[in-house]
Symmetry: C2
Subunit: 460 residues, 2 copies
Amino acid sequence: MVKKIPHRIYLTEEQIPKQWYNLRADMKEQSDPMLNSSTMQPVTDEDLYPVFCRKLAHQELDSTTRYYDIPEEVQEFYRMYRPSPLIRAYNLEKALGTPARIYYKFEGNNTSGSHKLNSAVAQAYYAKEQGLTSLTTETGAGQWGTALAEACSFFRIPLTVYMVKCSYEQKPFRKAVMQTFDADVIASPSNTTAVGRKILKQDPDTGGSLGCAISEAVEQAVSTEGCRYVLGSVLNQVLLHQSVIGLESKIAMEMIDEYPDIVIGCAGGGSNLGGLIAPFMQDKLTGKASPRILAVEPASCPSLTRGRYAYDFCDTGKVTPLARMYTLGCGFIPSPSHAGGLRYHGMSPILSKLYHDGYMEAISVEQSKVFEAAVLFAKQETILPAPESAHAIRGAIDEALRCKETGEVKTILFGLTGTGYFDMAAYRSYHEGTMVDNIPTDDELQKGFDGLPKIPGIQG
Amino acid sequence: MVKKIPHRIYLTEEQIPKQWYNLRADMKEQSDPMLNSSTMQPVTDEDLYPVFCRKLAHQELDSTTRYYDIPEEVQEFYRMYRPSPLIRAYNLEKALGTPARIYYKFEGNNTSGSHKLNSAVAQAYYAKEQGLTSLTTETGAGQWGTALAEACSFFRIPLTVYMVKCSYEQKPFRKAVMQTFDADVIASPSNTTAVGRKILKQDPDTGGSLGCAISEAVEQAVSTEGCRYVLGSVLNQVLLHQSVIGLESKIAMEMIDEYPDIVIGCAGGGSNLGGLIAPFMQDKLTGKASPRILAVEPASCPSLTRGRYAYDFCDTGKVTPLARMYTLGCGFIPSPSHAGGLRYHGMSPILSKLYHDGYMEAISVEQSKVFEAAVLFAKQETILPAPESAHAIRGAIDEALRCKETGEVKTILFGLTGTGYFDMAAYRSYHEGTMVDNIPTDDELQKGFDGLPKIPGIQG
């Protein structure tokens, strides 16, 4: 008799990982070092101290420590909302008529509505531990800002959030959630920073961008005593913290004697994708298994599939160090897409390197197809997905439909990063048929590439 | 060594109840029978057939069957989002400095955002099984409408939702969720029914009420071939389905060797409260245990604490049968409170009877105090509660603070019925200090009582 796999697989509290996994420790080749943009030399821990708190600066640059102990205070917070369930999508499988077994790791069961809380808790804790008195950050769709507000409220550390202005105006309720957790929310670009004032002078009506909000948050942090900046994606430290997603997923799959043939994640800056795939990529790097790893990005902001692998700034205002990554150019402003959390010009340097070296695949999808998948999923699985997460759903559905054609019984794992309760304007636009797929032309992309920094001896 | 109780206690899939529990089977005295308003005789199954599908009509009137098997199709749906977690509120306890142990049963982990799905699935299933071709319902805050839309979409049965007009206008995103699940959402009062047209003629600018939306939904159901009406609270059948909450809670508490000294639920029509307390009330009725049972209702709509125990209509348009319950009068229009799900003039006849007979207590609380509790809870427990649910939180916090004074180590269980993602306008009003506590005067209540129906020989 075949043992029936339950719909929801939960780890016990004791099984929640007590260490994060640092994927870099198993990479054959490291991603190129972050460069100090003044000296064009690799940045040191000390270079980062004005921006990041010390332990996070160390985690950012440490490619050798394989496992980091999760501080007890962070574990205690994790226990409030973790383990997150690994869910067998029985009803989605049935609706698709696929022989594939589809699993998803659902990270939306907390007020922030997404996986972002996993790193927010860590970053807020380390800041508090160092005795910092305030933090700044940026947010696009609002999930990161909400997660960090929640964590900062818990650890009692004041937070200022620069929220991309078009989001600030379109999502007043997102702002209200952050304010519930005592965050100070400012529409970016703003008059509170030099870079904000400069951008406003050039274009007073701009809706802002994630790159611009980052510039403002960094400027505010480095010019305020006891203040540091925190970021919800792209960074190595964020992927480290998010590895808890993949580690839990792997344990849950082992409990039901499963292993994924393919692991699928949505890809913006890479925080969820990097965390979800971490232990499976480890297996691949160490030759223990060879799962396919698939990144799904928006066609409107296709950094992996149409970007350049080059050194670039992480922000629009060019105040950050340079990172080598797949990028559309820090001056590239993605068209307004409803997956605000994926509207970033670059991609995690770790993931960029792995993609460059052939360890993972990437596809881009139009948002109308993404919402089609989101609605189908919602009706079958009782979870209303965030537009970002729905990119992974689209990828998983397409793989499952291919299995239907070929008859292959593949095991598919995808990351369901969060819920779409604050994205109903997007759903409405989909229902009303007014959703537009904005795909950049080659000429538009070329303009972004033309703005890539010149680095003597490295990048012409 | 004391074994540490985990933060989240999950039943295994096999432990999810396979039967609902019918509290009436253990009541010493039954609640008075529902009366046909034309004949003033107790209603029969047949009387209800034009309104409810047959199996639900039977459940409505059956006070003897102790356990009902949950149909396999309903169980299959339950397995998608159940078990819901029983959560130990360690961080809330710490913040309060209470010796009490606080547990909450969290029902918000599904797209409907609340416990309402438990009955929606059952009602949609029975309708489909009977071969009905459409359903109608009403919704106030939108949680019931969303839950039913989700269930109807799954079982492929068309649904029309009459949404209280002020909610319809204030909560466009709630509407968008229901539309995502293919529901037809109509602002009530509307021109689609005679009762709607009548009310609109009297007061074209009315924001509507739950009682009025019920009248419209019932009229639409009884005048449409193959259509029936479904309701998300008040009814005996709803309490039956919602018993899954209490049954799961009791099993989870047994797993950690706990039993509640006090069980607390928010009270509107009684769907959550009745479900949560069911097995604990059974213990009380059968003499096995004597937990305190506490209903927390809004001061703006205090049916238990300030209402009359009398026969009344369940709707404003007086198209429903008469039920004996605690009521403020079916003509009472509660002031606009943010807990839209609790703005109902009456209370479940079962709960009314139990309250009348001294088996449970009730308190009413002002919404500003409710939101104070909601914000404290959100910051400590990573869940943003619905305003309705926050009434129970307020009750639990006050009990825990009393334990702090007396030093008693009580075990408190409360129901966290749902999330507040669509209630951010209310949170914003709380933050901005513009929230008003509308408490009806005695004169205002008297007007409602004056409208109670006269029933020769029963009620003068």
